[in-house]
Structures are given as structure tokens and as C-alpha cells.
């Protein structure tokens, strides 16, 4: 299906990433958000609070982050598309409910406009310090879907994609902005509603007497949801459960449930990696988010000096696109891999694990508070490894 014409601000805008994210949510059909506003994500919910009443949605400013994150899970079960919005300190508090959304298979979107940590850190300045938290912040094994925009335009586009993936896989999806993308104003082109693809909620076609909330139809690994108020009664729990949703405290049930949770996401479908001049590159740069943009500056400068530099930009950061990174990093032409990121070494660990010693991997870290100076990345690209 497509977006709804009346809700979409079709046109060319000069807006920041936070506002673009809110508009993306609305275009994707989100009609409920609960949050506890926090810098640098506040503009997202301010925009939602203004825009939702115009499109039949509702934003609720809750008493805290736990209430916010549980409210969106309730809203999703109540039938609407829902998201919450926060930054590091708030996202830390929400981790318990990200796990609950995973195990209850509740389609929800979680916006994290990253600022510096640990703790309250630097509220008004950018970082990419929550990359590992996105995958490992809640306890237990679980698949994470996380997207990383590098511009206000992508904040719009990827928020829509996050809602679509959440519906397609019935799972929480994270959008990891950072303060720089969130507060940067730039041109954002919002297309016609008819040109915005939106995944509708997939409801069961079984009658209430036959419906099991975690039973998959033939050929699918993602169960259908039930419409509210039409006589479907079932159990929703954070405990390990069977197809009926009832807690079953056995290893066999855990094995079955986890097998499906971990395998229900189609990697090929969710992976989005943008390649630039990678075919015969000597140096491969792997980056994401705002850093990928600054790295592009350094890469263009290095190419001007005659070095063949390829760029892998991870738009989907989780699940980590292992296959593409491994194939590119270990192709014959590549001598070394450079990973700039605005933290002191997070996704570089995934790159190292994937490359498994086949090539030297060099981290260009920055503790946050400012994006890299492109020259620092340029030096790392040019530096011969001994």
C-alpha cells in the first residue's frame, strides 16, 4: 500500500534530521508516540506533538522512559503503528522493553538520536557510542534491526523503512541518528504519497477459534497479528512461550522459539550497504552515519592523490552485513581496511571479527563531541601499514 495523501508534506523542505524523522514516521503511518523528551531528540517529538493532531495521531509525554517504551508496545497491540524517541540516557532505560518487544514480536520503531556518553555525557553534541548497545543492550540473544542515516533526507527515508521492516518482521527496529544529523538542516524532498511504499499491518485471516498468536502460516517465519475488538483472545508474555502465547518453561520451547526469532529476518531483504569504487580498491573504508559523510570527503581527497580507495557505507548496521564486508575486505586488491567511527572502537570489532585477520584493520576513533576532521581520516587512509 501507499502513504496517505493528506498526511504527507509533499515538496522540497529545508529541515533538520529530527523533523525529517518525525515526517518520515507520519508518512509511514505512525499514529502514536510516547516519549520523555531528551536532547538532542526533542525536536522529533515536538514535531509529532504538533503534527499528530492534524492526521489523527497522538503523542503522549510520559512520566519517564519506561512508561514511554511500554506504552508504544501497548499501542502496537492496540492496532496502531507506534514509536518512541530518545537519546542514550533514555535508550539505556528502555532496554528492558526492547527485549519485551522482541520476544512478544511487537512491531515498533525506536529512534535514538545519539549524543555523547557514558551517562548524561554531552547532551548537545554528537557521538556514535550506542552502536553495540543497539545489538546487545537488552539481555538474552535477539536479532536487532538498526538503520543509520547520514543526512536529514535519509532520516526521513530510513524512518519509513524502519516502520516497514518492523511490520514485515514483527520486531522492534532502531533508527540510530546522531546529534549532527538530528540538528543539521538540509534539503529534504518528500515525495508524493503515492510514491511512498508502506507495509500495512498484516492481520490473520483465521477466525478467533483457530487463531494462535505465534503460529506462522506455511512458508513464513513471521506470525500474523490479530485485529483488536473482534473477539480474538490470547496471551502475551515476556516468558518463553509456545504458539498459543502461553508460558512453557522447557528447553525445547526455548529452542523452537529462539530458532524462529533468530532466523525470521531475511538478511538479503534488510541489508543496505552502499558501495563506492570498491572493485579494485587498495584501501577499503567502512563507515556509517554522519561519519560516512565526513569520510567521503577524505576518500575524495585520497583518490585525488592517486590512491584507489573504496567505500562501504553501512546503512543497515544491524544485522551486521558480514558477507559483504568479508567479500570486499578480502578481495585481492585490498591491502588494508580503515574504520572511522565516533566512538573508541565499536563496529570496528565487527569488521575485525568478519575479516578474521586476513587484512589489517585500522580504527580511526573519536570519543565524540565533534565529528572527525576529514584530514584525520585522510591520514589514516594514506598511512602505510608496516
Amino acid at each position: 500500500m501507499h502513504s496517505i495523501k493528506e498526511a504527507v508534506l509533499t515538496g522540497i523542505h529545508f529541515i533538520d534530521g529530527d523533523v525529517a524523522c518525525a515526517e518520515g514516521a507520519i508518512a509511514a503511518g505512525c499514529r502514536f508516540s510516547a516519549g520523555y523528551p531528551i536532547t538532542p531528540s526533542t525536536e522529533v517529538v515536538e514535531r509529532l506533538a504538533v503534527r499528530f493532531p492534524m492526521v489523527g495521531g497522538m503523542f503522549v509525554q510520559m512520566e519517564d522512559e519506561l512508561a514511554s517504551s511500554i506504552a508504544i508496545i501497548g499501542a502496537a497491540w492496540g492496532g496502531v503503528k507506534a514509536m518512541t524517541v530518545s537519546s542514550g540516557p533514555g535508550i539505556s532505560l528502555m532496554q528492558e522493553h526492547i527485549g519485551l518487544a522482541v520476544i512478544t514480536e511487537t512491531p515498533t520503531v525506536w529512534i535514538n538520536v545519539q549524543r555523547c556518553g557514558p551517562s548524561t555525557g554531552l547532551p548537545t553534541l554528537p557521538a556514535q557510542g550506542d552502536m553495540m548497545q543497539a545489538q546487545w543492550g537488552s539481555h538474552g540473544d535477539y536479532p536487532t534491526l538498526a538503520l543509520c542515516p547520514n543526512s536529514p533526507q535519509e532520516a526521513f527515508d530510513l524512518t519509513i523503512r524502519a516502520f516497514n521492516l518492523a511490520e514485515r518482521y514483527r520486531t522492534p527496529v532502531l533508527v540510530l541518528l546522531d546529534e549532527a544529523v538530528g540538528h543539521m538542516l538540509e534539503k529534504v524532498v518528500i515525495p508524493d504519497a503515492d510514491d511512498i511504499e508502506v507495509d500495512a499491518r498484516r492481520f490473520t485471516d483465521k477466525p478467533p477459534s483457530e487463531y494462535k498468536p505465534y503460529e506462522c502460516s506455511e512458508g513464513s517465519m513471521v506470525p500474523d497479528l490479530a485485529p483488536v475488538g473482534q473477539g480474538y483472545y490470547f496471551h502475551v508474555t515476556g516468558l518463553t512461550h509456545d504458539e498459543r502465547g502461553y508460558p512453557i518453561m522447557t528447553a525445547d520451547t526455548q529452542v523452537d522459539m529462539m530458532h524462529r526469532l533468530m532466523n525470521k529476518i531475511d538478511l538479503e531483504d534488510v541489508t543496505d550497504v552502499r558501495e563506492s569504487e570498491v572493485d579494485d580498491c587498495e584501501v577499503l573504508v567502512v563507515s556509517y552515519g554522519i561519519t560516512s559523510r565526513v569520510a567521503e570527503r577524505a576518500i575524495l581527497d585520497a583518490r585525488r592523490q592517486g590512491l584507489r580507495v573504496g567505500h562501504l557505507r553501512l546503512v543497515t548496521v544491524w544485522p551486521f552485513p558480514e558477507q559483504i564486508v568479508r567479500d570486499r575486505a578480502t578481495q585481492d586488491s585490498v591491502q588494508r581496511v580503515v574504520v572511522p567511527e565516533m566512538n573508541l572502537g565499536q563496529m570496528v570489532r565487527e569488521v575485525e571479527r568478519t575479516v578474521a585477520g586476513a587484512r589489517p584493520v585500522r580504527l580511526v576513533g573519536h570519543p565524540g563531541g565533534a565529528v572527525h576532521d576529514p584530514n584525520v581520516i585522510l591520514e589514516a587512509i594514506l598511512e602505510e601499514t608496516s
Binding site: 522540497i12 523542505h13 529545508f14 536532547t39 538532542p40 547532551p123 548537545t124 546529534e179 549532527a180 540538528h183 543539521m184 538542516l185 538540509e186 534539503k187 559523510r293 565526513v294 567521503e296 570527503r297 575524495l300 565533534a370 565529528v371 576529514p374
Partner: protein, 190 residues
């Protein structure tokens, strides 16, 4: 004066002077009305709520990869403090644009080498319109005459697009008066 294809700006003053709105008008003129590229980063945090306030605007024909302005080509100073903070960062050959009743630039000879200064009594011009609040729009008119990075038409459209409904005529006049002052005083196309 010829329109420049790329340019880095720092617009700075006090909170409440319309510093951020002037930056947004510039960004909108370029990105919405000329379909080129612009980014704007703004000072954020305690300093954005009263006190010093500034915007970094980059304009280009190509995608902007690094959106921060370390060394501006153009500095628009609307307070003495802004001048002190950012004048040392202005590039050689850069332009200093200032509100001449709010900012004292001292001796022209004390300016960094190659910097050209353009002063405008924007507050007084705004007062002629009996609305001091349009000071920033007068500044926009003035800087689009003396540092042309967008066409006059695009800048004026961006002003009208950006101001509250019902104030278009007033702000259009403020823009025109600032523009005219720039042309009359420093030359260029009228």
C-alpha cells in the same frame, strides 16, 4: 557582483535577533528555490537560549560532505561578542558584514589582511519601518546585495516563505531596503 557557487558562512549575534532565521532563509533560498545544496548547523544548548547565538551555513553546487564551518568566507556579525569570537577565523579575502550600530569594528586597518568590511545600519532601517524586529530581514537584504550567493529573486522568495503569514509586505519592504542600501553604498546590480 557575480553569484558564487560555493560559500561558507558564520552568522552570529544574540538570541532573539533572528540569527537562526537569517541562516534558514539563506539555506532555503539555495536548497528550495535554486535546487542547489545547503547545510546549516546551529549553536545549540544553553548558549542558544539567550546570550550568544550562531549558525554555520554552507552553500554549494555539490553535496556538502562536511557541514561545519571552521573558517568562514563570510561572517555576519550582529554583536560585538560575535565579532570578537569569529573575526579571527575569517578566511583571507573573506567578507565581514556587520550591523554598524551594534558592532564597532575599530580601524579598517586593524582588520585581518584581505578582509573587506560591509557595514549596514540595519536597526535604524528597521526602525524606519517602525518594526525593529525586521532587523534580521534588513540584514538578509543587505548581505544578499554585497555577498551574492543566491539570486535576489530566490532570497526574496525565501524571506516571504519564512516569515509569519500576514507580515509578508512588511518583511518584503525590509528586504528591499536592506538590499538597496547594499547596492547604493557598495555598488552592484540594483
Amino acid at each position: 557582483m557575480e553569484i558564487q557557487s560555493s560559500s561558507r558562512w558564520r552568522i552570529a549575534g544574540f538570541g532573539g535577533q533572528g540569527v537562526i532565521l537569517s541562516g534558514m532563509i539563506l539555506g532555503r533560498a539555495v536548497s528550495i528555490f535554486e535546487n542547489r545544496h545547503a547545510t546549516m548547523m546551529q549553536s545549540f544548548g544553553p548558549e542558544a537560549r539567550g546570550g550568544a547565538c550562531s549558525a554555520q551555513v554552507t552553500l554549494s553546487d555539490e553535496q556538502i560532505l562536511y557541514p561545519y564551518v571552521k573558517k568562514p568566507d563570510v561572517l555576519v556579525a550582529m554583536s560585538q561578542q560575535a565579532l570578537g569570537l569569529y573575526l579571527p577565523l575569517l578566511r583571507p579575502g573573506g567578507k565581514l558584514i556587520y550591523e554598524e550600530d551594534l558592532v564597532d569594528i575599530g580601524d579598517q586597518g586593524d582588520l585581518p589582511e584581505g578582509v573587506t568590511a560591509y557595514g549596514v545600519p540595519a536597526t535604524k532601517i528597521a526602525e524606519k519601518l517602525r518594526r525593529r524586529i525586521v532587523l534580521n530581514i534588513v540584514m538578509v537584504g543587505f548581505f544578499s546585495a554585497v555577498a551574492p550567493v543566491v539570486s535576489r529573486e530566490s532570497a526574496r522568495k525565501a524571506v516571504l516563505y519564512s516569515v509569519p503569514k500576514g507580515t509578508e509586505a512588511l518583511n518584503g519592504r525590509a528586504y528591499d531596503m536592506g538590499y538597496k542600501y547594499g547596492v547604493d553604498t557598495y555598488g552592484g546590480e540594483s
